[in-house]
């Protein structure tokens, strides 16, 4: 009979709850995984092409000679190529023999040898917010609300909590017009959000003191002499960070980012990203190239470890698909190609180029339905994404969407080939692999899946 608990039972339940509570307060990730730090020094750029992309036009094309309009009710795939301009109705051969792309892949076709493309994966959602939350955190959202911290935050946390100061960065986690979550990681791993380049300058530049450096030094010395850091951890930290803040504002970091500057590095970046002079106040951050140029500069200048950026935000083609979707995708893909090329052109102090030390993940929060509704496509949980750069097996295709309805298909996570006993790839498999790739093999992010090691070189 289900009667009431005895007092003894209530107390035991109370003890159990108390135990759970205590473990919560001990901050589980740092306690359980204190020794699971990265063994490889790597940077990350998370590129979000927002709105939900039509993968037929880019990463996951279908042969228009097979998937014809006449067969659309049989295949449940309607490419709609006849609605596109006549010079956009063919697939594009990449620089890897077995890899073809859709007609709007743009310059990215020349970088397939550096890319691992994942097809037929799922975000398990039809909503922008939920899909984005899933991709950014690797966790099923709570309704439309993200759960847990962003992968960028977790990666930043892993590096910033290492004793080796060389692993630390000034702005470890930078976010350019995109979301970032921190629910359980150190504050320094919180994403620093930029809406414009001026926001970044506010962070890295200081307001001039109303007196000269001699007086500044006198103040610093006074605070040093009159505040005893041994009295408390807070004071110790406060004085240490005070010194660091002063150092940061003295570094003249603006010149590393100011796209209107005249240093050789900035001129090379402007050239690589096809930016004109004085675009900061005109096109500025509305241009995907400008955003990615800032992201790239943050990495190569050593300021940031992880950069998340919304490359483009105009892919939600419920209407005017034929006019807008491909054009906007290609803007994003061209900018991504510029990013890859730029990073590949900058030598890294540890050998190779910055591309050899930076992993790029490019995704959209969902795909679009395989059947058209007039001149539009609705949302679809099936999507594709690609990775490039450090630790990534270039020239690789993981999985495939099905030939009926372009659905998700199960994949062997270690080989990337279709397998009836495998898993449907989801963002968390990719995130787990990113951690795996830097030597973090414990499930520090509580993703509860195996890594998609097929993408790793």
């Amino acid at each position: 009979m289900k009667g009431k608990f005895t007092r003894r039972q209530l107390l035991r339940h109370g003890i159990a709850l108390g135990a759970l509570t205590s473990m919560g307060r001990l901050s589980l990730p740092s306690v359980a995984y204190a020794n699971s730090g990265p063994t490889i020094d790597r940077n990350f750029i998370f590129c979000h092409m927002a709105g939900g992309w039509d993968t037929f036009l880019g990463l996951d094309p279908k042969d228009p000679d097979i998937f014809t309009d006449e067969r659309k009710y049989e295949t449940r795939i309607e490419l709609g190529f006849h609605m596109l301009p006549s010079n956009r109705r063919s697939l594009i051969q990449s620089n890897v023999p077995d890899i073809v792309f859709g007609p709007y892949i743009g310059k990215l076709k020349d970088y397939a040898d550096k890319m691992a493309i994942i097809r037929g994966m799922s975000v398990d959602s039809l909503g922008h917010k939920a899909g984005a939350a899933r991709f950014i955190t690797g966790k099923p959202p709570s309704g439309n609300n993200a759960r847990g911290s962003s992968m960028a935050t977790i990666l930043a946390d892993r590096y910033e909590t290492q004793a080796d100061a060389d692993m630390h960065r000034l702005i470890s986690n930078l976010c350019i017009r995109t979301s970032s979550y921190n629910t359980d990681r150190i504050p320094k791993a919180t994403g620093t959000k930029l809406w414009s380049l001026d926001d970044l300058f506010d962070f890295v530049e200081g307001v001039d003191a109303p007196f000269d450096s001699t007086v500044s030094s006198q103040i610093d010395q006074f605070l040093q002499d009159n505040v005893d850091p041994s009295r408390s951890e807070f004071l110790d930290k406060a004085l240490a960070f005070k010194v660091k803040a002063k150092e940061m504002t003295g570094l003249n970091l603006r010149e590393k980012f100011d796209m209107d500057g005249s240093t050789a590095e900035i001129l090379a970046a402007r050239d690589a990203f096809e930016l004109g002079y004085n675009e900061r106040n005109t096109v500025g951050f509305n241009d995907p190239n400008y955003r990615l140029a800032t992201a790239a500069r943050a990495i190569v200048s050593g300021v940031s470890r992880c950069v998340s950026v919304e490359v483009i935000g105009t892919l939600d083609s419920h209407f005017d698909w034929s006019r807008d979707q491909g054009r906007e995708q290609q803007k994003g893909f061209d900018a991504m190609a510029n990013l890859i090329a730029y990073l590949d052109s900058i030598p890294h102090s540890n050998g190779g180029s910055y591309l050899d030390h930076t992993t790029i993940l490019c995704f959209s929060e969902m795909g679009r339905k395989p059947m058209l509704i007039n001149d539009g496509r609705n949302h679809n949980r099936n999507t594709s994404c690609f990775l490039a750069g450090a630790g990534i097996a270039g020239g690789t295709i993981i999985g495939a969407s099905s030939d009926i309805g372009a659905g998700c298909q199960k994949v062997d996570l270690t080989t990337g080939t279709l397998s009836a006993t495998g898993d449907i790839v989801r963002p968390e498999h990719i995130h787990r692999a990113l951690l795996h790739g830097i030597g973090v093999t414990d499930d520090v992010a509580d993703l509860r899946v195996s890594p998609l090691t097929a993408i790793l070189s």
């Binding site: 919560g24 959202p141 709570s142 309704g143 439309n144 609300n145 009295r231 807070f234």
Partner: protein, 509 residues
């Protein structure tokens, strides 16, 4: 571990009492969010406490109320952003200063075009029945011109509205409800008198004002508890709620057949809706809530911030019962083949440690829509549907299947014997079947009566004010404060007073 504990118990110089002025400064920052004035400093000696009159004044001030609201924002995270509380087709757009609803296909006429705005900049002509007379443009699309309308959101002005939208039909001659999602497809339908059932633009203006008012509704509830010295427990079990003009307008006109966020069945009896206009945004009227609502926990500001029932439960458990749910440190064990298809997480090894508590508590919100703020009526949606059960067992019936799924009934084959059950009830044991029907009130009442919630309220408030977790040396103090809080009929102001005048608080750097 013993050594660690002993090291922590060694007295530290920073555990001395603060000086009078530093103490005053700390209390002022915590209670008012500002520094003391020089005049206030002059009222306190070096070793004295804060004069009672001064503290009374502080605890009765708007600045203190703001601090309490700030603190509760940290608990409730009541700051909504993306809420589609209205059907998308009832959002208006503007172009050339003319309001219209986009993409009403009947305007295409013989063309395939709809213009923005779809009507020309000329005053409409009406027929004998008051309907606009549309002309046919050269491209075959229709154009009816505009009419001047006084919008509900600004009665001091008039705006141009395309004449089809400016109609005031409630139900069209073909029987379509113009407020509902089917409305805009019918040329006779419109935005109603004063554009009542349309929103000027998605993401702007009225939309933002109403979404902000969801947050403010909770703030006002807390404010009322403070200013009227109501028991703090009314945050959890209050049988009332507050409505202002915009929220009243929303419930009256904007929540029928929504797109994405179900708000149709409010947490109060519609017959008791106050008579407020949209402009009365600072007038908050108290009305009784339905039994299934409990304090603020059936209000949109809470439900739309925490979209799923489990998330709602988890927030209540962590912030108001001090129960944190965390996975086992060793991770979850591998699932067996059978477990992969077991939907009841309480049966799963590893999951049960959290879901054993979480799922039953979540079920108290089972009849509040997820990603929504609507109460799912029992009469219309019983816990078990014979019809949906049959649909699920008889094979694929596309329309019936979709209808049942949308209404929340389990129909997919993998649910097995649970098909036909409403999802709010499907996973519950017999003794729990009335949890979704009753709502969380009794859960809160029980945990107030047994002291769990009061103790956690004290603990959280203490932590916020002391700036640290409570420790072994605080046990007796915490018990005393909790007893006082309960004996003072859960007076929150007195609780804060107890904490900031305690030695625990003053024993800081």
């Amino acid at each position: 571990m013993f050594a660690l504990c002993m090291a922590s118990l060694v007295a530290h110089a920073d555990d001395e009492l603060m000086s009078g002025t530093r103490y005053l400064r700390s209390v002022s920052l915590d209670v008012l969010g500002r520094l003391p004035t020089i005049e206030e400093y002059e009222q306190i000696g070096d070793d004295e406490g804060i004069p009672e009159e001064l503290l009374d004044e502080w605890l009765d001030s708007e600045a203190f109320h703001q601090q309490v609201l700030y603190y509760h924002n940290l608990l409730l995270l009541n700051d909504l952003e993306f809420v589609k509380f209205q059907n998308f087709v009832h959002y208006m757009d503007t172009s050339n200063d003319i309001f219209y609803i986009k993409r009403r296909n009947f305007r295409k006429g013989t063309s395939n075009l709809i213009h923005n705005p779809p009507c020309g900049d000329f005053e409409a002509t009406l027929d004998s029945q008051g309907r606009p007379i549309a002309t046919v443009k050269p491209d075959g699309s229709l154009d009816e011109g505009y009419r001047w309308v006084t919008p509900y959101w600004d009665p001091s002005t008039q705006v141009k509205v395309c004449a089809f939208e400016a109609q005031e039909t409630e139900v069209s001659s073909s029987g379509r409800d113009c407020k509902a999602s089917e409305g805009p497809a019918d040329p006779e339908c419109d935005c109603g008198p004063n554009l009542n059932w349309c929103t000027p633009k998605f993401g702007y203006g009225v939309y933002h004002e109403i979404v902000n008012d969801f947050d403010e509704q909770i703030n006002q509830h807390i404010r009322k508890i403070l200013t009227e010295e109501r028991p703090y427990t009314e945050l959890f079990t209050g049988d009332w709620l507050l409505l202002n003009g915009p929220l009243t307008h929303m419930y009256n006109y904007l929540v029928f057949h929504p797109h994405g966020t179900d708000m149709e069945h409010p947490p109060f009896d519609r017959n008791l809706t106050p008579d407020l206009s949209y402009q009365q945004n600072e007038t908050w009227i108290e009305i009784p809530s339905i039994e299934a609502n409990s304090g603020i926990f059936g209000l949109p500001g809470f439900l739309l911030r925490f979209h799923t029932d489990r998330r709602r439960a988890e927030r209540v458990l962590s912030e108001f019962m001090c129960i944190e749910l965390t996975p086992p440190p060793a991770g979850l064990p591998e699932s067996t083949e059978d477990e992969l298809f077991e939907a009841d997480l309480r049966q799963l090894n590893g999951c049960a440690s959290c879901h054993g508590l979480l799922d039953p508590v979540a079920s108290f919100w089972g009849r509040w829509s997820e990603v929504g703020g609507s109460r799912i009526p029992l009469a219309e949606y019983p816990s078990f549907s014979d019809e949906c059960n049959q649909i699920a067992r008889n094979g694929y019936d596309r329309n019936g299947y979709a209808k049942c799924w949308q209404e929340g009934y389990l129909v997919e084959p993998y649910w097995g014997e649970k098909v036909g059950w409403h999802k709010a009830h499907a996973q519950l044991y017999d003794a729990e079947q009335n949890y979704p029907i009753e709502g969380p009130r009794r859960f809160f009442q029980q945990n107030i009566a047994n002291g769990k919630i009061p103790a956690c309220v004290v603990q959280k408030a203490s932590k916020q004010l002391l700036g640290r977790d409570l420790n072994n040396r605080d046990t007796e103090w915490k018990q005393d404060i909790t007893r006082q809080f309960i004996q003072n009929n859960y007076n929150y102001v007195e609780l804060i007073r107890s904490i900031v005048t305690s030695e625990q608080y003053r024993r800081r750097q």
